[in-house]
Subunit: 337 residues, 2 copies
Amino acid sequence: MDDRKLQVLRAIVADYVSTQEPVGSKALVDRHDLGVSPATVRNDMAALEEEGYITQPHTSAGRIPTDKGYRLFVDRLGSVKPLSPAEQRAIVTFLSGAIDLDDILLRTVRLLAQVTQQVAIVQYPTLSHSTVRHVEVVSLTTSRALLILITSTGRIEQRALELPEHDEQTLAELRAHLNAATVGNSSTQAAARLQKLVDELPPSLSVIGQAGIAALLEMLGSESSTRVVVGGMPNLTRFGQEFETAVRPVLEALEEQVVLLRLLGEASTDGDVTVRIGQENPFKELQTTSLVASPYGSQADAFATLGIVGPTRMDYPSTMASVRAVARYVGRFLSEG
Amino acid sequence: MDDRKLQVLRAIVADYVSTQEPVGSKALVDRHDLGVSPATVRNDMAALEEEGYITQPHTSAGRIPTDKGYRLFVDRLGSVKPLSPAEQRAIVTFLSGAIDLDDILLRTVRLLAQVTQQVAIVQYPTLSHSTVRHVEVVSLTTSRALLILITSTGRIEQRALELPEHDEQTLAELRAHLNAATVGNSSTQAAARLQKLVDELPPSLSVIGQAGIAALLEMLGSESSTRVVVGGMPNLTRFGQEFETAVRPVLEALEEQVVLLRLLGEASTDGDVTVRIGQENPFKELQTTSLVASPYGSQADAFATLGIVGPTRMDYPSTMASVRAVARYVGRFLSEG
DNA sequence: GACTGGCACTCCGTCTGTCCGAGTGCCAAA
DNA sequence: TTTGGCACTCGGACAGACGGAGTGCCAGTC
């Protein structure tokens, strides 16, 4: 691939992102010193269009990048800019002072939305990467109880439970058994030990024990129930005028936890920032948007994924830098707190 | 106030709501049989405009209702239509099968959004109207613990806590004391009894006891921390074309829990459906919108408030009916569950 | 006195045609 | 391989014309 052609593509992306208007050959040589004439640039543009990296909205208009063009841009051209010290400080102050896990994630999603000026999505830390800290059973009525699971990441899961004929005494025993089997273990380890526990329970506990263990296993296994927080919705107005058509499907997707979870799940393959551009996206509602996501968590152990959703026409270098930075700081913050 | 003039106003509101276009005298007599000629209607319209109930976007256009006009409409003209049996059944099926409180509220907000085709807001039940069911203290590290509060509405509140020098033994004692003082009481009663408990604690518990009680009191007193759930955002696209101007501020307001809480708080004065139209709204970002809200909860005891936000140009009678119906069913559902 | 038909007037939205500029593709020359 | 020149295309902005919906007012009728 010709070197200058890449440079032209980079310039087109840069200009289009900042002006949001198709960019022509003359404007291009005016704003970037490419050292050649508009006519030459035109030839390169024709070639780039031939190869599918840019396109014309209509004859005799400037060019805009295609999804494929953006892809090439982020793969080979994007020099990820590091954040300024001021921005880094802002991140830290924004996060410090959080009380509990909910608060941390709320602050994170707002921070991310503010820094990137896009819609931010943060997934709750998954159970599988954290350990069980405590299991609690609380009697609600004579036939119902509440099972509560607390993890090392500070997350609390609850589930209602049908529990026939129980008193405080047996409940306390059950609690002790459950805790003994699970505390300190990861969700998979805990699940294994609970399976064994079923057979080892004293007869007095067998009925309510089985009910409790079944519910607990379900909670441990339900990674799918991981929740997500969304913020920065007002930034959707940046999409521009194409409203009824473009924004409505995005709003709909953002309300579906399931969609968001799959989106984030598929994005976090390796350990670094991932970008999904336009049609690369698994959901058709989101094929006018791009996703920039990153796993976060302490050390090598990834807890979950966070990211942003915005128009394909976005400033990838700085967005990627911001997402990466926020992911790092939040991960550090979580493993300390 | 002339009887026919009211009828004209009612017709104008009805037509404008359904067509979203200024309505003129001729169209009015065509669609509603008012028994008079357009010219007569014109006279009435001139009077209504004089009194501030309707207005013209420009000379020689039809009329549209003002906020004052809508107000008169809902106060004196709106015959609240009851829901069809099919709709009532839909509500019940939609709610049944909910697991925990989070799930109930999630379903409620979706239901409300779907039925009204507007943005729905549901406030979490406030502590002050529910009773304490259980208090749990869990040791996290040697110096930190987690305080968990469970209420009769199934709500769980957590708070991290600095607890110097504690072992399982003293923690169990503390737990017993806290539960003895609070379980079964409303938040105000519980707070009072906790105040007394401070002085009655055995010396061995005095240090960690005071820390625990202080935190618990804070949790009980923090009605302000009540959360809200928002849903049906895609319905914002119904606002029409005036996007950058009208929708952005609304989106911003909807992300601010504080704003929403005050909004709902001020709306729920008496026990029935309340309507706030346009400028009657306390927040200028929402002055192009109307709020239809209703308290919900079991019997006379109001738990919290729910409602919808939409353009002032909305179908008030059916919206009010829907909000009222959902509020009733959810209240019943909560007090049974 | 209230209602009605008629009439002149106003103004918006739409349509049409024109014009300008930005941008392109191609070609011949450097 | 690059460049300047040229003809061509198309969209957006502008201006004027036109039709329609709606109004206000007035004089006549019940």
